[in-house]
């Protein structure tokens, strides 16, 4: 296998498949990275970018397919690092309680021995000077005392140091998200120098200008597959956006117009971009790449209607996205999980009326078809999709006229999704307002109106027939340089 590869290949992934529950994260993806290349990796939410990165750096074991490094076939963090594969993750991953030098020690296994502190410090300092001249970071200080941009710079610099095996492939996942344009330009210049010197870089960014100007090959992913893999010269911003999108398909749009009065509003975020508003009977979508401020906007909406300290009979219900983290009560029954938000209405003189609670359970069990013989069963006895339905029922069973949804359909099977969409439409028709953050295009297309987020700001508002994958993509990715 190894001899069949060209000598300068750093890593080759072939036919990689990975499945998380019902979701196929990677469905036979191929990616080969050679020395001297800077590869731009683009794709919309759920295309599989992060997953393939995690396969290459050893964090995930593929369920099918081959992974071949320079030194041979196999997988695992240790093997990946031996082959000089480094990764800068989207979320900052330094230890904030340690100094810059100590963090470099953790990232470099072979830096031990006498006086390692001085060597670690020299390594980071030189690399920082090389990549970000005039950075002004005190390498003796604790990472927790640095600003976000400085932390990002330190993490990038540490990844490019070569104390153990030299860095051969550095994966940068949205490296410029917290850097200003000057620093981003310095980084991109360094990336080009690094690739020219025989290294390789895999660059993921939502700023297409950066990808187009820095990389020499662009890989476009979609639905867990690589759909295009061509030299950068073959792409323009426009063709790149088109490649990321899917073939235009027919769909029936509800040409419904909202009738209600204004229910919710939020001024422009960070003083930039557009303001938000939502009317009665409307389904409003939050689109854009994951982690660009949508969840924060939902939380702000929730807090604007609902105090932090005192409970009030708020007209707002919230459907959590991360079921395990902030959705279900894992030790409670289905019924308890469902009725928790409406206990006030179900109580008589502060005691919960069991009869009415059971009635409520039966009603919603029938209405949204929760597949269980008895709502007294534990919530964990349900499949993920049915647990999600219970969370929906929890929100819908309240008298709330506004329902905020934080990408709740993640990892839910198609059948359940269709059922929930049906419920949403009928509830909206009866006057409820839904604000729906979703990372899936199909769901965004169900909305009456869509706000697209980028870098924490609303950059576009689309309504009716304007809501197309192409338009959402074009707004999610910044066209030019920073």
């Amino acid at each position: 296998m190894a001899d069949a590869m060209s000598a300068q290949t750093i890593v080759a992934a072939r036919g990689i498949k990975i499945q998380f529950g019902a979701v196929k994260a990677l469905d036979g993806a191929d990616l080969e990275i050679r020395q001297g290349e800077c590869i731009g990796l683009v794709g919309h939410n759920g295309a599989g970018k992060s997953t393939i990165v995690n396969v290459i750096n050893g964090g995930l074991t593929p369920h099918a397919g081959d992974l071949v490094y320079g030194s041979g076939q196999g997988h695992g963090i240790a093997l990946a690092r031996q082959n000089g594969v480094r990764c800068v993750f989207q979320e900052l991953s330094l230890c904030s309680n340690l100094t810059v030098g100590e963090n470099a020690r953790i990232m470099n296994r072979n830096l031990g021995g006498w006086n390692w502190r001085r060597r670690a410090l020299a390594l980071v300092r030189n690399k920082l000077d090389e990549i970000f001249p005039g950075h002004g970071i005190d390498c003796g200080s604790t990472v927790g005392d640095l600003s976000i941009a400085q932390r990002q710079m330190v993490e990038i610099a540490i990844s490019f140091t070569d104390a153990e095996t030299p860095a051969r492939l550095v994966i940068l996942d949205e490296p410029t998200s917290s850097l200003d344009s000057g620093l981003a330009a310095q980084l991109m210049a360094y990336v080009r120098r690094f690739a020219a010197g025989g290294g390789a870089v895999l660059l993921i960014s939502h700023i297409l200008g950066e990808i187009l100007s820095t990389s020499n090959r662009i890989v476009v992913m979609k639905d867990g597959k690589v759909v295009a893999d061509r030299p950068t010269s073959a792409f323009t911003t426009r063709s790149l956006v088109e490649t990321m999108g899917s073939v235009v398909k027919d769909r029936q749009r509800s040409t419904r117009q909202h009738t209600g009065e204004r229910r919710l509003s939020l001024p422009a975020r960070k003083g930039e971009g557009l303001a938000f508003e939502a009317f009665g009977g409307e389904i409003v979508g939050f689109a854009g790449l994951g982690g660009h401020g949508q969840t924060q906007a939902l939380l702000d909406l929730y807090l604007s209607e609902n105090g932090n300290w005192l409970p009030n009979r708020s007209p707002v219900a919230f459907v959590a996205g991360d079921r395990g983290l902030n959705g279900i009560f894992p030790l409670w029954s289905i019924l308890r999980n469902l009725s928790i938000a409406s206990l006030g209405a179900l109580s008589k003189r502060t005691l919960v009326d069991d009869g009415r609670e059971a009635e409520l359970g039966e009603y919603w069990k029938k209405k949204i078809e929760i597949r269980t013989p008895d709502t007294g069963n534990f919530i964990l006895s349900l499949s993920g999709g049915n647990q999600q339905k219970v969370l929906f029922a929890r929100a819908l069973a309240t008298s709330a006229s506004i329902v905020l949804m934080d990408d709740p359909m993640r990892g839910v099977d198609v059948g359940t999704k269709q059922e929930v969409y049906e419920i949403l439409r009928s509830e909206a028709a009866s006057g409820r307002t839904f604000v729906w953050y979703s990372t899936e295009m199909d769901e965004i297309e169900l909305c009456d109106r869509v706000y697209v987020f980028r870098d924490g700001v609303i950059v576009a508002e689309l309504a009716g027939d304007e809501i197309t994958e192409e338009k959402v993509l074009a707004s999610s990715f910044a066209g030019g340089e920073h």
Partner: protein, 313 residues
């Protein structure tokens, strides 16, 4: 020069120790002597060792609720087997360290809350201690007795021992690669694992080292008291946690300071003597230690708020 929050965190414990010491000297000038200092601080030596052990556990975001019973257990082993049959005694203590390492691995692999596991273990250690010494008794090994009653020239043993403990643990925890990795686990476990280290092995080693220091604490305690009792060190669980916090450590996030922990242990011991000098009954001592803790933590909180406000401005 402006003091950073980190420096301030390191300074508060030292300042509070000096203030307390000043108060003690003011009320009882005779304490300002070789014997006086030794008497004030000699019970601090085992507490400092237990605090260091607790600090190691806390640096990986865990908490050891069996510290008191484990120190009692090692004190009992020291006063019985270690004295009468040293080989068996050493074997028992080594086995105890191995058990600590295993607990560390178990907590990591099964993702169990350390509080629950160590609370359970506290009954095991307590039971074993009672089996060995149903009544108070036993005898300290001669060398432990000699070590703890030694009279070095100029500076009393209690001070020398505290300095040695502080320096050694500072080298291990704050300077060595091992210490960096251990604190790295406390700060961001995932990034340590992503760099290819075995978090399991590191956690086991941390627990084993904590077990080692706790055993030293038990031996030092027996060296001072000459005999042991199954309940001799029950207070140490809370004292050690309080010492770490007083010394600038935090429950999570891998922020610990070995020198601070030793100073914290000294401060807590001194607080007891201070109250005795004030003729306040020992019944109030726990409450007074709590009050000291609240004052120091309050100061720290106030400073953190101040720092945050300055930064956002």
């Amino acid at each position: 020069m402006r003091i950073s929050a980190e420096t301030f965190r390191q300074i508060i414990p030292a300042v509070s120790l000096v203030l307390l010491l000043g108060a003690v000297f003011y009320m009882q000038p005779r304490a300002m002597s070789y014997t006086g200092l030794n008497l004030l601080f000699n019970l601090a030596v085992p507490i400092a060792l237990a605090t260091v052990a607790q600090m190691l556990i806390m640096s990986v975001n865990d908490l050891d609720l069996s510290m008191g019973t484990f120190v009692s257990f090692s004190a009992c082993v020291a006063a019985t087997y270690l004295q009468s049959a040293p080989l068996i005694g050493v074997a028992i203590l080594l086995a105890a360290i191995a058990v600590y390492a295993t607990i560390g691995m178990l907590i990591h692999m099964r993702e169990l809350p350390s509080i629950v596991v160590t609370l359970g273990m506290s009954f095991v250690w307590g039971g074993l201690a009672v089996l060995m010494l149903p009544q108070p008794g036993g005898q300290a090994p001669g060398w432990a007795r000699w070590l703890m009653t030694a009279k070095p020239p100029l500076v009393p043993l209690a001070i020398v021992a505290s300095v040695v403990i502080a320096v050694v643990t500072h080298l291990i925890v704050s300077r060595s690669s091992f210490g960096v990795l251990v604190r790295g686990i406390g700060g961001n476990t995932r990034s340590v694992a992503r760099a290819g280290w075995s978090v399991l092995g590191l956690r086991a080693a941390t627990y084993a080292l904590a077990g080692f220091f706790a055993i030293l604490s038990g031996i030092a305690l027996v060296g001072l008291t000459t005999s042991a009792d199954a309940n001799i060190a029950l207070r140490y669980t809370l004292l050690s946690i309080a010492g770490v916090i007083l010394g600038g450590g935090e429950f999570v996030g891998g922020r610990v300071s070995p020198v601070g922990a030793v100073i914290g242990a000294l401060t807590l011991t001194l607080a007891g003597s201070f109250l005795s000098f004030m003729r306040i009954s020992p019944d109030w001592q726990i409450g007074a230690q709590g009050a000291i803790l609240i004052i120091v933590l309050g100061l720290r909180l106030a400073f953190n708020l101040f720092e945050k406000r300055r930064r956002t401005r």
